[in-house]
């Protein structure tokens, strides 16, 4: 019996199956792990193995069949091209990394097999999110991802803050989603289309690129959802609390995969929606510039004063959002610079995901048994007690600070270069100065690890952290290699 007769989906044919493979693999994995956890209560190892196989299959399909042209299914409900492939691979791998990190975490806390199910469902949502042009389908995949992550955050049952964090994230995230949906409905009302391509055509044919208030409001409300997920300035308030409350591997998952997915989807929307005069609409540029500056300054200056590591990384991610927004501004500038801007955003996202996953793998390994909300004081003397881990952590921190020769430096250079090409000189200078302030965020943990004398050394759990070790080594390798041979990695894209 052939595959197509088993699933009579005549609208998907031939090569289109290749495009849908990652989504298909992850959906299958999610359902299989869900059934497994219903049948057997202690099936963590099997669930993990399933996730591993599903993720590898999903990533392999993007590596083996790289797309040069776009595959459109169901009139743009699903769109598969190189962009969606790259971001799908990032999200799937980040999800797998988060699962790997929990392999040692399990010894401290009973994370149920549903943990892997939820990760798989969240990844399904992410893959769908970066591969759609349809506003409603986008909303559904966003909610699929978000609902899974809300539960993941609250799953950290030992921490009293987890429930609070989960509720906070759920309420604020729900509000943001509602605003996004409202924006989508206004856009539909104004243009008569739910498809991004249709909306763009309406922009051009009806208003010749100069938008009246109604579609502008629609666009603005729609963007709020994105800005919430990537943590841009007025919509960032949830980040520190939620990141602190969640279990460390879950925070690692959010900081890498969730952000990468939101960035990828935003990149797709910008590339498809903002072409021509719409993108250089002065109000739009002024608003985004203001948000960029506010995000950069807020993240840097508030981050400097934090004393708990997860909060430090929470503010660090706000600063990084500011850099990515700089890239988006360059993208809206259009022209030749736009292409550079798009590729700089993609590179930056990859670099960012790698170094954050590495840092969180180290964090999971050095957190004491009863409490994974590490403070800076607890890092004291780590350079002597765990020299290799401290070294790896330093490399990740320096990469985030953007010091060569690390991946983060080139990521930042690409973004600055793209912004300058589009003429945002002053904004780039502000971003550069913000990165000086934010350097303090990353140097302070190093001060504690290497320079402070420790009075009493806290206990390190002598667990075998195979999973986290793999991630640390891989991330370290990638961070340094991308810093030394950035061209080689760019050619892979």
């Amino acid at each position: 019996m052939s595959f197509s007769s088993m699933f009579p989906m005549n609208f998907i044919e031939g090569q289109q199956w290749l495009g849908i493979l990652p989504l298909f693999c992850m959906t299958l994995t999610a359902i299989a792990t869900l059934l497994l956890s219903a049948l057997r209560h202690q099936g963590r190892a099997v669930a993990f193995a399933m996730l591993l196989i599903g993720s590898i299959a999903a990533v392999a399909s993007t590596v083996v069949f790289p797309f040069q042209d776009t595959i459109v299914i169901l009139d743009g409900v699903l769109v598969f091209d190189r962009l969606s492939q790259v971001f799908s691979a990032i999200c799937v791998l980040a999800g797998l990394a988060a699962a790997l990190m929990t392999l040692g975490f399990d010894e401290r806390e009973e994370l149920q097999p549903e943990y892997f199910t939820l990760i798989a469902f969240a990844v399904v949502g992410m893959v769908a999110m970066v591969s759609t042009r349809n506003l409603v389908f986008f909303f559904i995949s966003l909610e699929l991802m978000s609902l899974a992550v809300y539960v993941l955050v609250s799953m950290h049952r030992q921490s009293p803050m987890a429930a609070e964090a989960g509720l906070k994230y759920f309420l604020l995230g729900g509000a943001a989603s509602a605003v996004l949906l409202y924006g989508a409905s206004i856009l539909y009302g104004a243009t008569g289309s739910l498809d991004v391509t249709g909306i763009r055509e309406a922009f051009q044919s009806q208003w010749n690129g100069h938008l009246p208030l109604l579609p502008l409001v629609g666009l603005g409300l729609f963007s709020v959802g994105f800005l919430f997920k990537i943590g841009a300035f007025p919509f960032h308030v949830w980040i520190p609390d939620v990141y602190t409350g969640a279990a460390t591997p879950v925070t690692g998952f959010m900081i890498s995969a969730v952000k990468a997915a939101a960035t990828g989807a935003l990149l797709r929307m910008c590339l498809e929606l903002f072409v021509g005069p719409v993108s250089t609409e002065p109000t739009l540029v002024v608003i985004i510039s203001a948000i960029t500056v506010a995000t950069l300054l807020f993240g840097s200056f508030v981050g400097v004063r934090q004393t708990r590591l997860k909060r430090i990384f929470a503010y660090s991610t706000i600063v990084h959002t500011g850099y990515v927004l700089l890239g988006f501004l360059a993208l809206l500038g259009g022209g030749e610079g736009a292409k550079d801007a798009a590729s700089s955003i993609v590179s930056y996202t990859i670099f960012y995901v790698v170094m954050n996953l590495g840092a969180f793998a180290v964090l999971t390994m050095i957190s004491p048994k009863d409490n994974d909300d590490l403070t800076l004081d607890q890092l004291t003397g780590l350079g002597r007690r765990r020299p290799m881990l401290a070294f790896a952590m330093s490399v990740f921190l320096l990469s985030m600070a953007g010091i060569p020769p690390t991946a983060g430096f080139f990521g930042k250079y690409y973004l600055f270069s793209a912004a300058l090409s589009s003429g945002y000189v002053w904004l780039t200078i502000v971003a550069a100065l913000a990165s000086v302030v934010s350097a303090v965020i990353y140097l302070r943990p190093m001060v504690y690890m290497y320079m402070k004398e420790s009075e009493e050394s806290f206990q390190v759990v002598p667990a075998i952290w195979l999973g986290s070790n793999i991630i640390v080594v891989l991330s370290l390798f990638l961070t340094v290699m991308m810093g030394l041979l950035p061209a080689w990695f760019s050619n892979l894209l």
């Binding site: 320096l398 953007g402 010091i403 060569p404 020769p405 430096f409 250079y413 600055f416 270069s417 300058l420 090409s421 000189v425 780039t428 200078i429 550069a432 100065l433 990165s435 000086v436 350097a439 303090v440 140097l443 190093m446 001060v447 290497y450 320079m451 402070k452 950035p486 061209a487 760019s490």
Partner: protein
Amino acid sequence: MSQILSWIVLLPALTGLLILLLPKSLEAKSRQIAVIATLIVAALALWAAQAFDVNAADPLHFHIRTEWIPMLGIHYDLALDGMNLPLVLLTVLLTPLAFIGTWNQTSGDSTMQKRMSALVLIMETGALGTFLAQDLFLFYIFWEVILLPAYLLIGMYGGAERMKTTLQFFLYTFAGSILMLVGIAWLVHMQSQTTGHPDASFQALMNLKIPFASSQGPAGLFSTQGLLFAAFAAAFFIKAPLVPFHAWLPSTYRQAPTLVSIYLAAILSKMGTYGILKILIPMFPEAAHSFQPVLMSLAAFGIVYGALLAIVQTNFKTAVAYSSLSHVSYILLGLFSLKAEGMGGALLQMVNHGIAIAGLFMISGFLEKRRGSLELKDFGGWAPQTPVLATGFMVIVLSTVALPGSGGFVGEFAILIASFRVNGYITAVAATGMVLGAVYMLNLYQKTMFGRYVDDYVKKVADLDFREIFVLVVLGIFIVGIGITPQPFVAPSRTAIEDSAKRVSPNDALPERQAVPGQVSR
């Protein structure tokens, strides 16, 4: 041998990484390994220097150029040219001497020795790479390689206020260099707009016409060239440093361990002045010309300000730090004169100052090791007990005060002549620095070596051991050697510097009679 520059640049860092991986049992040997590596690098560099041909048609010797990041036009591009030759020699000479001269002071636990040696070796790679790079982006990468080891060394092994100091040092230098990075991205973008393909090499960027608003005042600063000038100046002026960008300097030099102080003052500050000579002046000539009065005034002010503060210090090392500020300001004055003889004198003075300040910080290390303090009130009457130390100190003091016959004299004299041709008043202020310099140096010498001693400890003070004597002898040879025959240090850079001077002031022909003292006219 075609890759000799790669070996010179990368060997120290590779050795440094190897040292970091040494097992516990071999840690005690880390300094020996480091010294051997730096000596090999010095031998390679000397071999390259003797093969340097002043009259060669292509000024770039041992040129290596490989694509690194094609889409941004960035190359791995190293070459020995007239301008960087003296500074490369300075670096490869001072690094082993710094290790040997501070041998007894770094005799802490073996892990500390291991980390210190490794990090200093990585700094050597950064310095050599900065000097040898012929690609602006590569220059930046090596420039930044320095930052982290310096930060860690001061933070881990510095004095009591090390953590605050090292953060301040890092932030100052990082702020400067990140602005330079923005400048580089902008320059490369402009270059790629003009020619169609990006190229970050110095040669390609030198041909760029950068718009500049010629009127005096803020309009010039806010034109494209003015902003680019400011971006690069931020990095170089902070690193050198030029007053008022020096706030990090006194505490950093004082808190750093001696080995690092030597490196910071002798070599790292030269990266800033080299950047001004190699990049800032030739690439932004109109801006440099337009800001010349301000810059020269600041340099002259720095000379006097540093000297006056050095006089009133009560701590030996802080006094040396301020003296360094004063002398670096001389170099800057020579550079900002924008005359060939001034810039040539500045380049020579970079070498002289490197040697002299390394000597002074080593002396400070010797004193601290023997006394356990560097407060001047704890010293006095050492000369009878330690005649060798007193003699070596004297030689370095004489070079610092620019006594004729020492290297310092040739450089400072050329600088003052060039500066006088531009502005007599500024030069008059700057020249008082020579007198003040004599005041604080001799004052320091008297308070330590002569006078009455505070208590009986002096009788127990040991004179220099053979390592310390060796280091001072080598430094002394170079001080006197440059004073008597400066040609080998000046001649290779002559053409390059004259080209730079022509770019800045094309109508300012240099009369043959007023050539840089000691130079052979061709």
